[in-house]
């Protein structure tokens, strides 16, 4: 009976959006503002956020972990998800036992607002050449759209979210070197660089780097420049949110909301009439005979299942959950789940000769982007290098506190850096402890380079036979960080050379540089930039078209970085936000054209 009543009401909504991260929130706002009936389904719950963000900040400061999910302590917030403190990421991800794998080290948050809770707000656009990797360098794929197609939408997203950047720098550097023009200035001036940034800039700005790995094609000397990082972080009051005052905790949480997160547009969407159902985990889409999505089935946390329907359905989960839902729905398109990408990270750290004073200001305010494009991309991956403002906190030392102990006390160590290490292993206390900490920790510096990863067909998401706690199949991953040609490995070699060069320019002796070796197992970190898996392109070779519409289901759209055909070196949020706004326009036009009588 209930079934018949529901059928009589189909479709209940104009738009059903799966996922409440930045893509889902932006498109929900745009469509609700246009008076369409919008429902947002979110797998996770709502974090405690009365009294500002006091409860979340409290959870963070009292947690042992200080990990990205630390603010979301408590029942009813996080849906089953990868565990950021599992170094092999096996608690939620499964791995295909029939192939050789390496851990996929990126994870995400499944709660209202998605992973924008814990991003750094770094807001880099892709470069014009990033859209044409196949044509220009013979590798990867070309996007079905160009920088010119997306530029207008980059701008709109920047004004929606509030981005602080340096216009003169963009003209002087990004336009002249990469052709990355802007049609409008940034909404806000840039966040000032830190004192630490200034010391690095003084050492390397304008210097010539000319130390390339042997098989680099056409190596040319590179004049190095430190650039200011554009952020979706307020440098001045913007749309009711305050300017950043440097809590140095963008990840895992901005406690004052100076850094944009998706709740900004979720609140706007709800105020415009959108509905939000939290703790609603979408399990599959049901299709009619024409291939249209007729129902969106979802499971509540008590494991009861129900469905909802919409004229348009939008998957805006992420690069793992989007393909998972399509596979759970029985979709046969072979491209679904394939081309999983991240931005593999290689870090180096060092002890500078003079104090740099880390742990002051946003976690990254300057970077080095001169290696984001060049002929070398035929041979090894482009990369960008962030100058970290939080000392050694994000490398494996976890300074100043410390995370791990040597397996035996008193292990050889020329440069102890953590309180845990000094006290437990070195038996320091009293004056010696104080003076050592005061002398060394202000001199900590970490360089963090993230490189592009080409889209490989065998890097993919499938369905595991193992179930998560809601009895939904877990993601089954097949993942290798590199390929037989060593695209990432060679880039890592170049990165380590560049790190060593930078440290040397800063006057740091070899013994105070801690460089990752070129180990056989290719030690790497994950950026949390989960891309590919529902890529855009031509029908027959991809999942969605240039407007993010499914090739197979006319009323289904897929948003987020899962549609990226290649990964570039840009943090993906700027591009996925631009694509979401572009798709929202397309969807809105379609809804108006096909409004029921």
């Amino acid at each position: 009976m209930a079934e018949k009543i529901r059928r009589a009401q189909d479709p209940e909504f104009d738009v059903v959006i799966v996922g409440s991260g930045v893509a889902g929130a932006l498109v929900a706002y745009r469509l609700a503002e246009a008076r369409h009936r919008v429902l947002i389904l979110e797998a996770g719950g709502v974090p405690q956020d009365s009294l500002g963000r006091w409860a979340m900040a409290h959870y963070f400061v009292t947690s042992p972990a200080k990990t990205p999910d630390a603010p979301f302590c408590g029942d009813g917030v996080l849906a089953p998800q990868p565990n950021p403190i599992d170094p092999k990421n096996t608690g939620y991800y499964d791995y295909d036992p029939t192939v050789k794998n390496e851990p996929f080290k990126s994870y995400y948050e499944r709660l209202v607002g998605g992973s924008t809770w814990h991003w750094q707000g770094i807001y880099l656009r892709m470069l014009p050449k990033d859209f044409r990797m196949k044509s220009l360098y013979g590798l990867g794929r070309d996007w079905p759209i160009t920088y010119d197609d997306l530029e207008e939408w980059y701008v709109r997203a920047e004004y929606e979210m509030g981005v602080a950047g340096n216009d003169k720098q963009n003209d002087d550097f990004f336009v002249s070197r990469f052709g990355a023009y802007r049609s409008r200035p940034y909404p806000m001036p840039e966040l000032p660089p830190t004192y630490l940034d200034a010391q690095v800039s003084t050492a390397i700005n304008g210097a010539i780097f000319n130390d390339f790995i042997p098989d680099t094609r056409d190596p040319k000397p590179v004049r190095v420049q430190v650039t200011n990082v554009p952020h979706a972080i307020n440098s001045q009051p913007y749309q009711g949110r305050p300017p950043c005052d440097g809590h140095t905790s963008c990840v895992p949480l901005c406690p004052i909301k100076a850094r944009y997160d998706a709740t900004v547009h979720l609140e706007k969407a709800l105020n415009a009439g959108a509905l939000l159902r939290s703790q609603a985990v979408v399990t599959r889409l049901e299709y009619d005979r024409r291939g249209h999505v007729s129902r969106v089935w979802y499971k509540r946390w008590d494991k009861s299942e129900t469905f909802v329907s919409g004229r348009i359905v939008i998957l805006a989960a992420n690069g793992i959950e989007n393909p998972k839902i399509l596979l759970l729905s029985g979709d046969k398109n072979d491209a679904i789940g394939r081309y999983l990408m991240d931005h593999p990270i290689r870090q180096s750290f060092a002890l500078a000769p003079r104090p740099l004073y880390p742990f002051r200001g946003p976690q990254t305010t300057s970077d080095i982007e001169v290696f984001r494009d060049g002929e070398f991309r035929r041979v090894y991956a482009a990369f960008k290098t962030s100058i970290k403002n939080d000392g050694w906190a994000t490398n494996m030392t976890g300074a100043p506190r410390g995370n791990v102990l040597a397996d035996k006390p008193g292990a050889s160590d020329k440069n102890p850096g953590t309180i845990l290490d000094l006290v437990k292993n070195w038996k320091y206390f009293g004056t010696k402890l104080r003076t050592t900490l005061a002398d060394t920790i202000p001199r900590h510096i970490t360089l963090n380079s993230a490189c592009e990863q080409l889209p490989y067909k065998d890097n993919r998401v499938q369905l595991s036979r193992n179930l998560d706690p809601l009895d939904i199949p877990r993601p089954l991953l097949s993942y290798r960080v590199d390929d037989p040609n060593g695209y990432v490995r060679k880039s890592f070699r170049q990165i380590v050379k560049f790190h060593a060069w930078t440290f040397k320019q800063m006057g740091i002796p070899d013994q105070d540089q801690f460089l990752m070796s070129d180990d056989p197992n290719l030690n790497y970190g994950g950026s949390g930039h989960i891309m590919g898996t529902t890529i855009m392109g031509a029908k027959g070779d991809s999942v969605v078209d240039k407007d993010c519409r499914s090739h197979d289901h006319p009323n289904l759209y897929v948003l987020g970085s899962s549609v990226f055909p290649t990964g570039s070196t840009a943090n993906p949020t700027s591009t996925l936000a631009a694509l979401a706004l572009r798709a929202a326009k397309h969807i809105g036009d379609e809804l108006r054209r096909n409004r029921p009588a």
């Binding site: 409290h58 959870y59 947690s63 042992p64 972990a65 990990t67 990205p68 302590c73 408590g74 996080l78 089953p80 403190i85 170094p87 092999k88 608690g91 390496e102 851990p103 966040l191 000032p192 200034a198 130390d211 440098s235 005052d245 440097g246 809590h247 140095t248 905790s249 946390w301 870090q347 104090p355 004073y357 742990f359 002051r360 939080d390 906190a393 494996m396 100043p400 791990v404 102990l405 040597a406 397996d407 050889s412 160590d413 020329k414 006290v423 437990k424 206390f429 009293g430 010696k432 402890l433 003076t435 920790i441 706690p469 040397k504 070899d510 801690f514 460089l515 070796s517 070129d518 197992n521």
Partner: protein
């Protein structure tokens, strides 16, 4: 070998990066207790391994001594100043740390022994030399255990101890079985204490997620 003395192809063997090596080893050791079919051996370099998401629910105990005794507090504070190397310490926070230490089930018993040992080497108000503290407290295994926790709590506002068992979460997979004893984690107290960790003022910074200053303060070096 290039001009910087780094040969990426052989750097793991040719450079004395002892810290890197032992940390990589420690991390690897920490995860190899569980078998992962199909996974190549690897370590991680991002974020923190082996800790917990939420504050462990430590149940306080009633100490077998008067924790409000002013003499006890004075000695606790002077002991703290000796082993942290920082004086004078904040008495208000000191009271809180004494309460936490004395009521912690794994620490309460060692406090009287520490107090007694310290009074024996510092009967007056003059702090004892570090060498004497080393000899009489830090070389004693039991006393050292307590002294380390006092150092940690003053610098970081956290003890470094094995946590009590976590509350089961129906939506999180259970931790993998392990035959080894629970790993120590950082057990924090209140937000007030977190922000007051000595390390932050010592390095001219602030505890992450606490205010650092007016917008843009980070562009200048810290003032003296």
């Amino acid at each position: 070998m290039n001009e910087h003395g780094i040969d990426p192809a052989t750097s793991s063997d040719s450079i004395d990066v002892t810290r890197r090596r032992f940390l990589a080893q420690a991390v690897t050791l920490g995860v190899t207790a569980v078998a992962f079919p199909g996974l190549a051996a690897a370590t991680t370099e991002i974020w923190e391994e082996g800790d917990l998401q939420c504050q462990p629910p430590v149940a306080p105990v009633r100490p077998a001594y008067d924790v409000n005794d002013p003499a006890l507090f004075r000695t606790f504070l002077r002991l703290s100043e000796s082993i942290t190397g920082i004086a004078p310490l904040d008495e208000h926070i000191g009271h809180k740390y004494l309460q936490r230490f004395a009521s912690h089930p794994q620490l309460t018993a060692v406090l009287p022994q520490l107090i007694q040992a310290y009074r024996a080497i510092a009967p007056g108000t003059t702090p004892p030399p570090d060498a004497l503290v080393e000899q009489r407290i830090m070389q004693d295994e039991t006393l050292r255990f307590g002294a380390e926790q006092i150092i940690f709590v003053w610098y970081l506002s956290a003890f470094y101890l094995p946590p009590p068992p976590p509350k089961p979460d129906p939506l999180k997979p259970p931790p993998p079985p392990s035959g080894s004893p629970p790993k120590s984690v950082w057990i924090y107290g209140s937000p007030e204490e977190y922000g007051a960790g000595l390390i932050w003022s010592l390095i001219h910074a602030h505890a992450p997620m606490t205010p650092g200053g007016p917008p843009g303060y980070w562009a200048d070096p810290p003032s003296a």
